[in-house]
């Protein structure tokens, strides 16, 4: 059983979902980015893998990550604003087209007819094999630091269990697997085979209207959900449970390593909205980077003075 790291470390979350199949996962992804860019950091989204999705969904996920990263690093010199995250994992390039809203969202352009949102997914090879991606993401984390949130097919995680060393890595790094029953109704066999504690978020009856991201004139999620009906909140609950398992509005049933969580209480809607609509904090320049920049500036000045 992996031990939990020190309380000060934010939980590391790996999201395995199907934003190309159901738009409510768009909010789940946005929530996790919001938690990652909060101050203090409430969670750290380390990798995103997709099932039942397609390239448009992968592009959207990548664009959303870069969008939040740019906001978070807005006080850094431009050369240090580059996105350092892992590529999006995509299980199948031949998934049926089901993401017109996502494609339309990232196709928006500005007044100069330039794309509003950057992404680095142009073809299938610009995405990662999701099993390798999740494995690689886990290797970079402390023991017991990770939570995997599953809101989609179980195929990626089953693949990880079968991978050489995969099961041992899960035992070492993953503190809990949290599953959205609304998106993963067939989770039983996975839960039975999973080597660490699990939490099944029972399909919630709560729905949420797409929020207004007032801090951003153009927000990819806002564009994607512009014409959306109220969205199911089960996967939002799963994401929140990863960061705040002690939230008062969750109800827990059963004992033992496999929990059943009920997420039907109205106060959760307030929490979701608050977290979704909070502006990313502006990350402070680390002292080491400040010193490095000062040294480089001094070197540049010296070089300029030396040039005849």
């Amino acid at each position: 059983m992996p031990t939990e790291p020190e309380k000060k470390d934010p939980v590391v979350v790996i999201l395995d979902c199907e934003i190309g199949h159901t738009l409510d996962n768009v909010l789940t992804l946005a929530l996790l980015h919001s938690l990652t860019t909060s101050e203090p950091r409430q969670a750290e989204l380390s990798a995103v893998a997709l099932t039942r999705s397609n390239l448009d969904a992968a592009r959207f996920a990548d664009a959303l990550a870069r969008f939040y990263a740019k906001q978070y690093l807005r006080d850094f010199p431009p050369i240090f604003q580059r996105y350092r995250g892992l590529s999006v994992g995509l299980d199948d390039e031949n998934a049926p087209e089901n993401s017109p809203a996502l494609a339309a969202a990232i196709a928006h352009k500005d007044a100069e007819d330039q794309p509003l949102f950057d992404h680095d997914v142009h073809e299938f090879t610009d995405t990662a094999d999701p099993v390798a991606l999740i494995r690689n993401a886990l290797t970079a984390e402390k023991d017991g630091a990770c939570v995997i949130v599953l809101a989609g097919a179980t195929s990626n995680l089953q693949g990880l269990l079968k991978l050489n060393g995969g099961r041992q890595l899960i035992e070492q790094k993953v503190r809990r697997l949290i599953i959205s029953e609304h998106h993963t109704p067939d989770a039983g066999p996975l839960i039975a085979d999973w080597p660490t504690p699990t939490a099944l978020i029972e399909a919630s009856s709560l729905h949420i209207d797409p929020p207004s991201f007032l801090w951003a004139e153009n927000h990819p999620a806002a564009h994607a959900l512009a014409d959306s009906k109220p969205l199911n909140t089960t996967s939002l609950a799963a994401a929140l449970y990863a960061a705040e398992p002690g939230h008062y509005a969750f109800e827990k049933e059963g004992e033992g390593p496999n929990e059943l969580i009920l997420a039907n209480n109205e106060p959760l809607l307030t929490t979701y909205t608050k977290l979704l609509t909070q502006q990313p904090a502006a990350r402070k320049l680390p002292d080491s980077l400040k010193r490095f920049l000062e040294k480089e500036e001094a070197k540049d000045k010296k070089r300029q003075n030396a040039t005849p």
Partner: protein, 446 residues
């Protein structure tokens, strides 16, 4: 005319010297009856350059069949039909994980092992490298299970990168998790290793050899005369070419030692080693060629310069250290110098590939019957990335790889998947290796 089948193990012998032979047609019946599956052996090798490669001038803008090659890799243009470029291969074990700084130490340690090394400057722990897994099997058929060569002198102990031992940056091959295989750097040492030392001669014999500056070939002259009579015209020509190569190498070594006394390159020069990089490269690869030709070994690694090398390249008018230049922070003049160094390395490699492509063997050429990976353990030397490692494979592994193209794999595809595929082609099958997730698809001849 009945040809006598020569044993593959036939040697030219005389006065304490022994020289192996290349593959002759006269050996073909004996080869087929040997334990080598399919007769002609496949060779596997890795040529490694440090500090990453400038991707802008390495990666074509297209995938599939080669057209014009970018600047760094352009010297391989004549051989692009025997080359396969593999993009998006990743060495996750080279990444930091929880260990902080030390990308150079990690990337070279992980390159052929697929393992995340222990961060320590005095206690090393890695994994067996893929070439050594193959060497264990090939060593049953060849005199040397593997050959490790290099050019840059480097220590084996101490801290070479942010707490990582020099054993990690200065070795590619690992026989066990704690035993690196240091590369041979001195051409004379390599020559003596391959063709025998004269330590067992009596003092009179040694003096005689030195006084008359006899070529080692002179000592096998009687054997050579006898053998020639048993060979057909084609094999006689091959024998002459082969022995000429050995004599030329001897001359090069003597020349290098003479030149060393006259040249002051402005840096510390290892004893007995050519001062000129290109000459050193050529000498080492010429001997490696002879070794491969004569089936002295089928597995090799060539650490061109050690990972993190700060060697200047005055040969091409670059007095700045290689490693510092790669941290260019976008400065165009530094990027240009890095590109020139990258291309200079490929230039030397291409000259060697040309030689391999001209050596005929049953089934094609020595190049055709090889799989030689040329690449780096870092993707981008400036950003210290471990994905999209610059990787080309020269040769088709005796017709088992379809060359002449660039294949782009999915991101995070482990480079160890390539090694599993190569090991298969050497007849060495493993279920997993390092962080592999399977074999590389699309390599095969369809």
């Amino acid at each position: 005319m009945t040809r006598k089948a020569l044993s593959r193990r036939t040697m030219l012998r005389g006065l304490g010297a022994a020289i192996a032979l290349p593959t002759f047609d006269a050996m073909a019946p004996a080869l087929r009856s040997s334990t080598i599956p399919g007769g002609q052996p496949v060779r596997m090798g890795f040529v490694y350059v440090p500090n990453g490669i400038n991707k802008e001038h390495w990666t074509p803008a297209y995938k599939g069949e080669f057209r014009d090659l970018p600047r760094v890799i352009q010297p391989l243009e004549p051989f692009k039909q025997q080359m396969t470029m593999l993009s998006n291969l990743t060495s996750n074990s080279g990444r930091a994980w929880l260990d902080g700084a030390g990308d150079h130490g990690r990337c070279s340690a992980a390159y052929l092992t697929g393992a995340h090394p222990l961060k320590s400057s005095d206690e090393i722990l890695n994994n067996v490298s893929c070439d050594q897994l193959v060497a264990r099997e090939m060593g049953k058929h060849t005199r040397f299970p593997s050959l490790e060569i290099g050019i840059e002198d480097a220590r084996q102990a101490g801290n070479c990168d942010s707490g990582y031992s020099c054993a990690y940056t200065n070795n590619l091959a690992w026989r066990s998790e704690t035993q690196p295989m240091p590369p041979v750097l001195n051409p004379r040492e390599l020559f003596e290793r391959l063709f025998g030392k004269d330590a067992h001669l009596t003092p009179e014999q040694r003096e005689q050899r030195l006084r008359f500056r006899k070529s080692i070939l002179d000592f096998v002259a009687e054997d050579t005369r006898q053998l020639r009579g048993d060979l057909g015209p084609t094999d006689q020509r091959k024998l002459d070419e082969y022995l000429s190569s050995i004599r030329e190498i001897e001359r090069q070594i003597q020349r290098a030692e003479e030149d060393n006394e006259q040249i002051d390159p402005g840096l510390n020069k290892p004893y007995g080693v050519p001062a000129d990089f290109a000459e050193h490269f050529r000498l080492m690869t010429d001997m490696l060629t002879v070794a491969l030709q004569a089936d002295l070994s089928r597995v090799f690694t060539f650490l061109v310069t050690r990972e993190g090398s700060s060697r200047p390249y005055r040969e091409i008018d670059i007095p700045d250290g290689h490693h510092p230049l790669t941290h260019h922070r976008g400065q165009p003049d530094w990027i240009e110098k890095v590109t020139q160094i990258n291309r200079y390395h490929v230039d030397q490699f291409a000259k060697w590939v040309e030689k391999l492509s001209k050596i005929e063997e049953p089934g094609g050429t020595l190049l055709d019957n090889s799989m030689i990976v040329y690449g780096a353990g870092l993707g981008d030397g400036n950003k210290h990335t471990h994905e999209d490692l610059p990787t080309v494979v020269l040769g088709s592994g005796r017709g088992t790889i379809k060359p002449g193209r660039r294949i782009v794999y999915r991101r995070e595809t482990p480079v160890t998947n390539l090694y599993l595929s190569m090991m298969d082609r050497m007849g060495v099958h493993h279920e997993h290796f390092g962080d592999s997730t399977g074999r590389l698809s699309d390599l095969d001849v369809s």
